[in-house]
């Protein structure tokens, strides 16, 4: 997941003044976090463009919570590369800047296009895009996936455990092998109850008819 930034700025100076200032802006009161500056590559192309690579080292200022989470990153400054193409014929300049260390923690990339302001040719506009990404986002997704997979596996174990203990308890109650399930024993109990009831009804019927016959015999004697 990448955070995207888009912005536009205007400098009230002409394009050639801005391009010249670009190379002279360090140090300035707002650049205390920039420690060193070096041109590490420069060439003029056949079509009269100036290609440059500038290396900057910057302080690595993090909030306290980040310092605690990433102690290994605290001691190292950030190395930043800025590649640029100056095209004086078209009066434009393009820059691409990114950090080359601390990359496993976070990468910030910035692309700028400098050109003559569309409203005022004595001004310069800067179109700035940036992308902020972190591989930690992938780590947090992996942690979530792992957590869910482990949870599902534990649910399976929970249910198996339940079935085991239930079967065991039913086996002890009925004096039968613990392999029978609650459903099976319940069924059997039902059948048994039916049979007993039927037998009781028959017996009662039998007793009743026997009693009736005896009474008849007694009455006959007294007449």
């Amino acid at each position: 997941m990448v955070k995207y930034f888009l912005g536009q700025s205007v400098l009230r100076s002409s394009w050639d003044q801005v391009f010249a200032a670009f190379w002279q802006r360090y140090p300035n009161p707002y650049s205390k976090h920039v420690l060193t500056e070096d041109i590490v590559h420069r060439e003029v192309t056949p079509d009269q463009k100036l290609l440059s690579r500038r290396l900057l080292t910057k302080t690595n200022r993090m909030p306290r919570w980040a310092e605690r989470l990433f102690p290994a990153n605290v001691a190292h400054s950030v190395y930043v590369l800025e590649d640029s193409i100056v095209d004086p014929q078209n009066q434009t300049m393009t820059t691409f800047t990114w950090n080359i260390n601390h990359a496993r923690l976070m990468v910030v990339e910035e692309r700028c296009v400098y050109c003559v302001n569309s409203d005022n040719s004595g001004w310069t506009e800067i179109r700035r895009e940036a992308w902020v990404s972190s591989s930690l986002f992938g780590v947090s997704r992996a942690v979530q996936e792992f957590g869910l997979a482990r949870f599902k596996s534990n649910v399976t174990k929970t249910m198996k455990g339940f079935e085991y203990i239930l079967a065991k308890l039913q086996g002890e109650f009925l004096g039968e092998a613990p392999s029978k399930t609650l459903v099976e024993t319940a069924k059997e109990a039902k059948e048994k109850a039916k049979e007993t009831a039927l037998a009781a009804t028959e017996k009662a019927k039998d007793l009743a008819s026997k009693a009736a016959t005896k009474k008849q015999q007694q009455q006959q004697q007294f007449v």
Binding site: F19, Y26, H76, Y79, D83, R104
Partner: protein
């Protein structure tokens, strides 16, 4: 501004002065007559290339190479 290699700072400043003059007075005006700073640049580069912790990164792109003190 300091160079990443302390010993190179003076050479860097000399080169920068030469470059800034040529850039504003010649290059931006479309004057393609020679670059007067090549010697100063060479001297500066000889010093600084030893100090920089990066190698072979693609121009205008982010390279896969990792510097020594990466974290």
């Amino acid at each position: 501004m300091n160079s990443v290699g302390e010993a190179c700072t003076d050479m860097k400043r000399e080169y920068d002065q030469c470059f800034n003059r040529w850039f504003a007075e010649k290059f931006l005006k479309g004057d393609s007559s020679g670059d007067p700073c090549t010697d100063l640049f060479k001297r500066y580069q000889q010093c600084v290339q030893k100090e920089i912790p990066i190698e072979g990164l693609e121009f205008m792109g982010h390279g896969k190479e990792k510097p020594e003190n990466s974290s």
